[in-house]
């Protein structure tokens, strides 16, 4: 059964794209067939994989079922990882979705025919809470939420959990969080991580992604960590995160 994992947070700049790319790569490295859909109009995941952020026919045709998604896929530099690239038109995805029947099911309809070819589908989602995010919630088995250990991030996590519980139809995705861009030297970071881990029960994964320069270098190298710093602290942390996440999918 294909598992759909959406990297999601209402806030931007929390490490969604880095996590999506590195986790997808880690899964492919284990022999799984993986698809990454770059839903963010900024196209950062596409950029990191050196693939032009362009989709023939744009987002509107795709979500309306007028484009065959299989023809839009691009192979990455990993033989088992494919990308459905970003497109600048995704900035208007809400409008395009609004014009479809049952818009919250639109992304599921795109993924459906591809699912048999992949073991895992990762969605790199834009920040915000919108019609597109609701469609993500309907398509995903797991919402994987990167959290920077600050009081405000915690608040947004609570908002998200509340929203999904109250507004999203069943079957709802499971919400799992992990700490991202964490600085173990900061007392505040450590306290917040301890507090949330204690209160959120099993919803917070133990692996922590550090605030590391390697992660920033991904943008200049245009490669996942495995491509240039496979043994670094950050690469090891993503590896540990995938090992922890996979059995829970």
């Amino acid at each position: 059964m294909t598992k759909v994992i959406a990297l999601y947070n209402i806030k931007g700049g929390v490490g969604k794209t880095s996590a999506a790319v590195n986790l997808a790569w880690a899964a492919a490295d284990e022999g799984a067939r993986v698809l990454l859909w770059d839903l963010d109009p900024q196209g950062a995941a596409s950029y990191l994989l050196r693939i032009r952020p362009k989709v023939r026919g744009g987002g509107r045709k795709l979500v309306r079922g007028k484009s065959d998604p299989a023809t839009l896929l691009k192979g990455s530099d990993h033989e088992l990882l494919d990308l459905l690239p970003a497109d600048f038109s995704y900035r208007n995805l809400d409008l395009a979705l609004d014009a479809t029947k049952r818009p919250t099911r639109a992304l599921q309809r795109v993924i459906g025919p591809l699912a048999g070819d992949y073991d895992f589908v990762f969605l790199d989602c834009p920040p915000a809470i919108s019609l597109a995010s609701e469609s993500v919630f309907a398509a995903a088995d797991v919402l994987l939420v990167p959290l920077i250990p600050t009081p405000l991030s915690l608040r947004t996590f609570e908002q998200l959990s509340g929203f999904v519980a109250a507004e999203v139809a069943k079957p709802r995705p499971r919400i799992l969080a992990f700490f991202s861009m964490a600085d173990g030297r900061k007392v505040l970071h450590r306290e917040i991580m301890d507090a949330l881990t204690a209160t959120a029960g099993g919803a917070v994964l133990g692996a922590v992604i550090p605030a590391a320069s390697d992660v920033e270098k991904m943008a200049s190298r245009r490669r996942p960590l495995a491509g240039f710093a496979p043994r670094g602290r950050a690469a090891r942390a993503y590896g540990a995160l995938w090992q922890e996440l996979r059995p829970r999918l």
Partner: protein, 515 residues
């Protein structure tokens, strides 16, 4: 969603690094580090993976299913090398097992050849530095049992990347037109098997014989019977070693087909030596029958016991043990018989007899020199009409034997159509085979359920004496009842299947074509 791929032969004497150097002058490439890979290729005896265009390779710790020509990986699993044979059911659940199961089915995989290759991966990059075509120079050498190795033709595997088809076309055009490389006519594995003196593509038991309508009937019979004897001999070692149940099955089918032809074309042989060989083949068939019946019982045991529902499935465990015990005993008897001087002499004598038939006197072989198309048509027409007559005589009160006899005749007709289909128009043969197959399915189910139920009844006393025998006996009672129901269902379907087979338009076509 496989990506495009092909394999090109490199000119003799071109090393991997020289090839990489030449490529770098033609396209933007990044060569990776060369490495060696030691692969043992596996396939079924009848070459099912080869026919499906796949290759299955065992490396140190992985079993990899790939495209045979391009080596594009399709599925893999962690796996340590099996000793001599591997069944799909032995593999862990996952993509590899799912992909292999429909191709390989119940056949065992056995090792074919060990190939050690030096691989040099070279990536073709676009202006963003992204890989758009993957090239792999392979310098393979086959490793025979014992020492040494034999170098095989080096080649360049070219594999596209999804969504970058234009780059694949561009690179392939450069490699073929500018570098003058040609597509490899055969996969590395096929080269390896040839170098070892083996048969590329395995040993299928299918006949695939094309005859000339004007050919002498005795020559045509010899062609078919020789091929059947090849199948018997090719499958004997696997049947003796019990590599999988299909060896014995294919051996038995070839014996049965031989017997059908001995009987149906008896006019091309002198009666006396033929009588001797017909007796010998009948004994050979009987020698292998009990083992095959038990093989089938055990192959179908899961389905049979599964139908019993929760709990009761476990109750029949003593039955399974008993069947396995019986199989061991029967197999021992069969192996001794197949290995006996008598069987060896029978098969060697039969081959000698076939080889000499062309020169034998024709006084008592009235059909020998007639065109095969005439003789075969007569036989097909006669057997068909005989079946129609037998089937029409079957009513609701007819004994089971009447249906069993009709099935036997049906097998003969089926074999005649298989042997001689190349002599007649496909539009005549195909519908005839289709309606015959339907009828045979119904008759086969009718008889098989009876055989299974009889076997269960015969085992009752022995089961009762075993530990857990009482529960097993009760479960077997349910099984026998279920088999009787299925037999009754098949009986009810007979009239409709037979009506199709013996329908007027079909009878007319048979009369027009076969006389």
């Amino acid at each position: 969603m496989d990506v495009r791929a092909t394999s090109l032969l490199l000119p003799d004497g071109v090393t991997a690094s020289a090839a990489a150097g030449r490529l770098a002058a033609l396209v933007a490439v990044a060569a990776q580090r060369a490495h060696s890979v030691d692969r043992t290729y596996w396939d079924t005896f009848d070459g099912r993976l080869h026919r499906a265009g796949r290759a299955l390779a065992q490396t140190a710790d992985r079993l990899v299913l790939m495209d045979a020509a391009t080596h594009a990986e399709q599925a893999s699993a962690e796996h340590r090398a099996a000793a001599r044979r591997l069944l799909v059911g032995d593999l862990p659940p996952g993509a590899l097992r799912e992909r292999l199961a429909p191709i390989v089915a119940m056949r065992a995989l056995t090792p074919l050849a060990r190939v050690r290759s030096r691989l040099l991966p070279i990536d073709v990059l676009d202006d963003l530095g992204k890989i758009v075509v993957r090239l792999r120079v392979e310098e393979p050498a086959v490793v025979p049992r014992g020492d040494g190795k034999l170098a095989l033709r080096p080649r360049l595997h070219v594999r596209g990347v999804r969504g970058f088809d234009d780059d694949f076309d561009r690179v392939l055009a450069i490699l073929t037109s500018q570098a003058g490389l040609r597509e490899a006519p055969r996969a590395v594995l096929d080269d390896a098997i040839s170098a070892l003196g083996g048969t590329v593509g395995g040993t299928p038991s299918k006949l695939r014989i094309t005859l000339d309508p004007g050919q002498r009937a005795d020559a045509a019979a010899v062609t078919i019977l020789r091929r059947l004897l090849d199948v018997i001999e090719a499958n004997t070692p696997g049947a003796l070693a019990d590599v999988d149940s299909e060896f014995l099955h294919d051996l038995r089918v070839a014996v049965r087909r031989s017997r059908a032809l001995q009987r149906e074309l008896r006019g091309v042989f002198a009666p006396e030596p033929l009588g001797f060989y017909r007796d010998g083949f009948r004994e050979l068939q009987a020698l292998t029958g009990a083992t095959r019946d038990l093989d089938v019982q055990l192959l179908e045991f899961g389905d049979l016991a599964g139908g019993l529902g929760d709990g009761a499935g476990a109750d029949v465990a003593p039955l399974r043990r008993l069947l396995e015990r019986r199989l061991v005993a029967e197999r021992g008897r069969m192996v001794a018989g197949l290995r006996s001087a008598r069987t060896r002499a029978l098969l060697a004598g039969w081959r000698e007899f076939l080889d000499g038939l062309g020169d034998a006197p024709e006084d008592d072989r009235p059909d020998a020199a007639r065109p095969i198309a005439d003789v075969a048509a007569e036989r097909i027409g006669t057997v068909y009409r005989r079946m129609v007559k037998m089937g029409r005589a079957i009513g609701d009160d007819s004994p089971h034997e009447a249906l069993h006899d009709l099935r036997k005749k049906g097998k003969e007709l089926r074999y005649l159509l298989e042997f001689f289909s190349s002599l007649y128009p496909p539009q005549v043969v195909r519908p005839m085979v289709a309606t015959l197959k339907d009828l045979q399915d119904v008759l086969g189910r009718f008889q098989d359920r009876e055989v299974q139920a009889d076997l269960l009844r015969a085992l009752g006393d022995e089961i009762a004496a075993m530990g857990g025998g009482a529960a097993a006996l009760m479960a077997m009672g349910v099984l026998v009842e279920r088999l009787a129901e299925q037999q009754a269902e098949a009986r009810a379907q007979f009239a409709a299947s037979f009506a199709q087979f013996a329908a007027k338009p079909q009878r007319r076509i048979v009369a027009e074509t076969f006389g």
